[in-house]
């Protein structure tokens, strides 16, 4: 076909169409205060209607999740999903929740915003899930949290520690990871106590995750009179040798890193092995997982300090850990239990407890009420009770320091994050009603 000659009638049509759109949009311009639009106030956001049983049938509860199953952050997603699936199978084998079997659909978002947005929309609008559980990642969660809030879909136990997710509190949104500012503060306090007056080199991911960690760390080192110099990197970079070299040239005495496993370990390996610079390293809790041992090299990672909010998988004498190892052996389809599978399983365990507390007539409202009333209960692998309230949607507010330890008496050597020191608590709900 040759060029489309747009005759005058066609032009009139196009102009009319545009004019109508303009008129309609202009008339709709002043609707910012309508009820569907969420306001950033305490306890604000759309609440699901009282009898909202989306995703709940007589026989099944449908849960959704978005994790990075491929790409740079797949190290997290794959293990998490394995743990979640195993725990779901275990719960179903033991009668489910009031006779309803759990079904979990996890979609791959490759740790990117647009994909997370797409898969979450699919989970909400096509699969019609009851709730999203364990959504992972600063960037993916930032892309979807307002959409979920506006549509009244519970965003439970988010695996991201940005303060903005739990402060201001939104009715349908609950955190899980310790928020990065508090975590940074605790790490800063460790540095202040053990390296007073020394220079700190801080390598941060150039986004809110890294920036919150930096803010917290600076707060924590106040008493120790430490100078902090900062280097940053993008999430798409996986070689941090330039940043490490620059910090070495500035003669920093301690290295603090806020990044994903691949980047953080690249920095550690570069410092300890390539540059032969045996600088003590402090690292964010999201990297206190076993895979960093393999990524960084056991000799390089040894001695690195971090923080955790739950028992570790190596603590076989803790009943909750032994139970997790059992569950993974039976339902884990051959996957080796790691701290990440433990996190995934814990999330499902806590979600099950909340849904159990909500009672046999399960609705979204009742589940959220039960979550806010959860107080004084410790999950099987937890170090302290979960205390939540209508103004406190953060389950984990107690942490312990851990040190990367290599046990060379075994073959191959065993790598664990060993707990040491006192627990640090910043619990905002100290007493239960």
């Amino acid at each position: 076909m040759a060029r489309i000659r747009i005759g005058r009638w066609a032009w009139l049509l196009v102009v009319a169409l545009l004019a109508t759109m303009l008129v309609f949009s202009a008339c709709g311009g002043g609707e910012e205060e309508k009820e569907g639009t969420p306001q950033a106030t305490k306890g604000g956001g759309a609440t699901p209607s009282a009898g909202d049983t989306t995703g709940v049938t007589d026989t099944q509860i449908l849960l959704g999740g978005h994790l990075p199953l491929s790409g740079l952050a797949a190290a997290w997603g794959v293990d998490l999903k394995a743990g979640m699936d195993a725990q779901v199978a275990y719960v179903n084998d033991n009668g489910g929740v009031y006779g309803r079997m759990l079904k979990l659909i996890v979609e791959d978002d490759q740790y990117t915003g647009p994909l997370a947005s797409e898969v979450v929309r699919k989970l909400v609008e096509q699969d019609k899930v009851f709730a999203i559980v364990g959504g992972l990642g600063t960037v993916p969660d930032s892309a979807v949290y307002k959409y979920l809030e506006t549509n009244g879909v519970p965003d439970m136990l988010m695996l991201a520690g940005l303060s903005k997710f739990t402060d201001p509190v939104a009715r349908t949104r609950f955190g899980y990871l310790v928020d990065y500012t508090s975590e940074g503060r605790i790490l800063g306090q460790y540095i202040a106590q053990n390296f007073p007056g020394k220079k700190v080199g801080f390598i941060e991911q150039n986004d809110e995750f890294g920036q919150e960690g930096e803010a917290g760390l600076r707060e924590g080192v106040k008493d120790g009179n430490n100078e902090v110099v900062v280097e940053s990197f993008e999430t798409t970079e996986n070689d941090l040798s330039a940043q490490v070299s620059r910090l070495k040239n500035q003669n920093v005495d301690v290295l603090a890193i806020y990044g994903e496993p691949i980047q953080a370990t690249s920095a550690i390996k570069n410092a300890h092995e390539t540059l032969n610079w045996q600088v003590p390293v402090v690292i964010t809790g999201v990297d206190a997982v076993e895979i960093v041992g393999a990524l960084a090299g056991l000799d390089n990672i040894e001695g690195t300090v971090s923080v955790v909010y739950a028992h570790q998988v190596y603590e076989k004498d803790v009943p909750g850990i032994a139970q997790h190892l059992d569950i993974m052996a039976k339902y884990g389809a051959g996957k080796t239990p790691t701290n990440l599978t433990l996190v995934g399983a814990s999330i499902i365990e806590i979600m099950t407890k909340i849904m159990q507390d909500a009672g046999p007539d399960l609705t979204r409202e009742k589940m959220l009420d039960a979550a806010e009333a959860l107080c004084g209960w410790t999950p099987s692998a937890g170090v302290a009770p979960i205390n939540m309230s209508p103004t406190d949607h953060r389950p984990n507010e107690v942490e312990s320091y851990v040190r990367a330890t290599v046990d060379r008496s075994t073959d191959p050597p065993t790598f664990t994050w060993q707990l040491f020191g006192d627990f640090v608590s910043f619990e905002s709900t100290p007493k239960c009603p």
Binding site: G7, L17, L18, T112, K146
Partner: protein
């Protein structure tokens, strides 16, 4: 004046118009068909959201096709221009309260100018060197956006969130009862997409379009013919960036969330792959590219579902490999993309009958085996070999 179109064309266009305009309502209009095997898949409300995405990608990928397919300039960093358009529109809408149509057009214009200027240094580069230079653009962009100089507008790594600053893209009051969120956004995306497609159609069949093709096919020859090569190369950059700007603005308007990592190197490369798969240098190719882009997860899911005993072999973990495999197969069997394959369809029957078919790749294995049966069916001849009428075949004889 409009020409008189033959009635078949009018009917076809009317049908297309009905499809485009009525799509959001099909799932309620044709609800009785929702159980049917193939059609039922389209009648899910979620398809409306995906169709909206299709519209946005159509604008974006059309621009990339104009630059790379029609003008032959390989751009690996196209996502940077999309991001520029997105940010300009987002800033205008959230911080300066601009109306969406104004913001979209302004974003398109701004990005078009930027693209035109980028075209200047691009004149000195070609082929892989241009590709690398454009790659640098998309790698640098996230950091530029987070820099203090502009972070007052761009909010650095926090990004721009329409739910927190500005108005989320909800339907206007008057239409509240007739359209829901997804349907409204669908129309907001598809109307510009149709307009931009018609514009591109006209552009490619105009003098400018012919100049683009000439520059692509033989730069030296085009210059000899009097084509101002430099000007048209820059114009190609400018026009494609205009499309990128409009597409980015539409994206941010419908998505309501924008961050520095939304348009990164991964999506930039994916865009180029999609355009190649769809078909370089054709409007239909851009349409296919946008369709694949919007529905690629579903395509992989369907294939995963079809593979027998998928659950047992944990096919879920291999989705990435399947996606990659599909790309490889698609490139081998159709270097001109899906649109190229479609263009060849009318000739297939003739060539089949004449026995002259040659497919590269996978079809080279399957086709010769299947050919005798196909020919027998088509011609009703006693033998598959058209030159033999007594039912014998060449391969049965000793040779």
């Amino acid at each position: 004046m409009t020409r008189t179109l033959p009635w078949r064309r009018v009917l076809g266009l009317a049908l297309l118009g009905f499809l485009i305009i009525g799509f959001p309502y099909f799932n309620t209009m044709f609800e009785f068909m929702s159980g049917w095997p193939l059609i039922g898949w389209f009648l899910v409300p979620f398809r409306v959201f995906q169709a909206m995405r299709f519209g946005v990608w159509l604008v974006v990928l059309m621009g990339l096709n104009l630059l790379t397919g029609y003008n032959g300039q390989i751009s690996l960093g196209y996502a940077a221009f999309v991001a520029i358009g997105a940010y300009v529109a987002a800033i205008l809408m959230t911080q300066y309260g601009a109306h969406v149509i104004v913001a979209v057009l302004a974003a398109g214009a701004f990005t078009g100018v930027v693209g035109f200027l980028v075209g200047v240094p691009a004149l000195r580069l070609s082929g892989p060197y241009l590709a690398i230079a454009t790659l640098a653009l998309v790698i640098a962009f996230p950091q530029v956006v987070k820099h203090d100089l502009v972070s007052d507008w761009t909010h650095a790594s926090q990004g721009i969130n329409f739910y927190e600053q500005g108005t989320p893209p909800l339907p206007p009051e008057i239409l509240k009862d007739r359209v829901d969120n997804n349907q409204w956004l669908y129309y907001c995306a598809i109307v510009p997409a149709v307009i931009m497609t018609i514009l591109a159609w006209n552009l490619t069949r105009s003098r400018i379009g012919r100049a683009f093709l000439a520059v692509r096919d033989t730069e030296l020859g085009a210059g000899q013919m009097g084509v101002n090569v430099a000007l048209y190369k820059m114009t190609a950059f400018g026009i494609s960036s205009f499309y990128a700007g409009i597409g980015g603005a539409l994206f941010v308007f419908t998505e309501a969330v924008l961050g520095p990592s939304t348009f990164d190197i991964n999506i930039s490369l994916t865009m180029l792959v999609m355009v190649v798969l769809g078909g370089l240098g054709s409007i239909l190719g851009s349409i296919f590219a946008a369709a694949i882009m919007a529905w690629r997860a579903d395509i992989v899911s369907e294939i995963v579902g079809v593979i027998p005993r998928g659950q047992e072999i944990r096919i879920d973990a291999l989705r990435g490999a399947i996606y990659g495999g599909l790309l490889v197969i698609a490139i081998i069997t159709g270097p001109w993309g899906l649109a190229g394959a479609v263009r060849r369809l009318p000739r297939i029957k003739d060539r089949l009958v004449a026995g002259k078919f040659r497919f590269p790749g996978v079809s080279g294995i399957v086709y010769p085996a299947v050919r005798p049966f196909l020919l027998r069916r088509l011609r009703g001849a006693k033998s598959a070999d058209p030159s033999r009428r007594d039912g014998t075949e060449a391969r049965d004889e000793p040779h």
